[in-house]
Amino acid sequence: MSSPLLTVSCLAKRYHRGGKTIAAVEDVSFVIEPGETLALAGPSGSGKSTIARLVLRLIEPDAGRIQFEGDDFFALSGSALRARRARLQMVFQDPLAAFNPRATVARVLDDALRIHGIASRTERPRRIAALLERVGLNADLAPRAIHEISGGQRQRVAIGRAIATNPSLIVLDEAVSALDVSVRGDILNLLLDLQAKERIAYLFISHDLGVVRAIAHRVVILDAGRIAESGDARAVIGAPQSAIGKALVTATPKLHRTTAS
């Protein structure tokens, strides 16, 4: 029971571009406990999205291991991998790009339920309505096309799709960065609420330390693909040790306000 939900060990991913090798991720290790939020912060190009894609098996690593729910995640393939994906979900930054331009709200949620055999065809409309309510949306939204709803509603649909398969971990890559400030707060509250109710763990990627402070238990700060520092989110953001950590804190003006309040 005390084993971590996700263990990432010595992960590395290198890209070769024009004869040069870019170490997008180098020797990165961290763990995520059940029901915990771990934030990945760092400047642009520090490898945050690459780690997200590695953890989700969207790209293959050059080195390292990932254990998820006790299994070697890189050893899974084919239908076993697809089935396990139910437990490891993702929310993207741009909620418009994250959906098929032809999709409707209902279809997006229906796909997740159908693929993992969570509900029978006749049962699914009811499950879709329930999912929409869980993410704070009206069930009337179901027949709408994805491009016909607002950005905030879209991100709620994305969260609805992510929780549809009953995951234990959701990777959120800049999931609130594209939203305006008021909507951002609502979405963060929704995420906190879901975590409290269902003990979902989050790998929360953001360059905004204000947001990280508001939602994360622990934070890993990356610099050029390597871990610069890590620890309790409030402690690290309150007194960063690494140069990049200090730079990120000073670059976040809103932080002082949230710290004061």
Partner: protein, 276 residues
Amino acid sequence: MSVLRRFLRTPEAIAGAIILAALFAMALSASLLFPGDPQAIAGPALLPPFQDWSLPLGTDRLGRDVLAELFHGSRTSLAVGLAAATAALVIGAIVGTLAGFAGGLVDEVLMRITDAFQTVPGFLLALAFVSVVGPSLGVVVMAIALGAWTGPARVARAEVLSIRERDYVAGARVIGMHPLEIAFREVLPNALPPVLALSSVIVAAAILTEAALSFLGLGDPNRVTWGGMIAEGRTVLRTAPFLSIIPGVALVLTVLGVYLAGEGVVETTAVRRSLS
């Protein structure tokens, strides 16, 4: 409705639409206006056009009604043109999607096959195929499609290569969708517009290829075809040139109409896409 209005704004599109409408009207009314066998003898041989109003376009070498043949021939041209183009687009879209989406060895093999087909001129391919398998409508359709699917395959592959990097494809993988479902349900429909933009050219080429095959006597022998009519008229070209000219003009008009209407459609959808 406004799409139709926008489509009908350019004179080329209007001309194309009128020609196509006339063609479809001909094809649909052929058996109403000219019931019975168009290849049956209807009057004296080699009657010139505009002499006898029961046979307005005259008769051919065997005394067959040219107008009836023209109407029935439009059916063959349209049917073969549309069927062959559809087959070519379907095959091309499937091959292109598989190649682009799977990548690696599958891509390599499929694209080498595409190359091989593309290096052989489409008409030679069709000629060889029909000569070996024997002329019938279905074989002619397949033969033409065989030489026409490579263009759509390339366009589909290029489009799929760009679409497969989009977030929503990653999203589909994350929810555990099967790769084939991702390829054909998520990616292919979004890759179709530029592929469909090729359809008018392919239909026009297919109609011409069908005519050429029929001209060489490799069309379905049980059907009237414009190419067959031209070939038939060739033997009496000096004395009765109209027998070749009439189906020839019909063929040119048809190809022009298909092309113009197709350009109009492409224009309309391009405008709509740039607006959205």
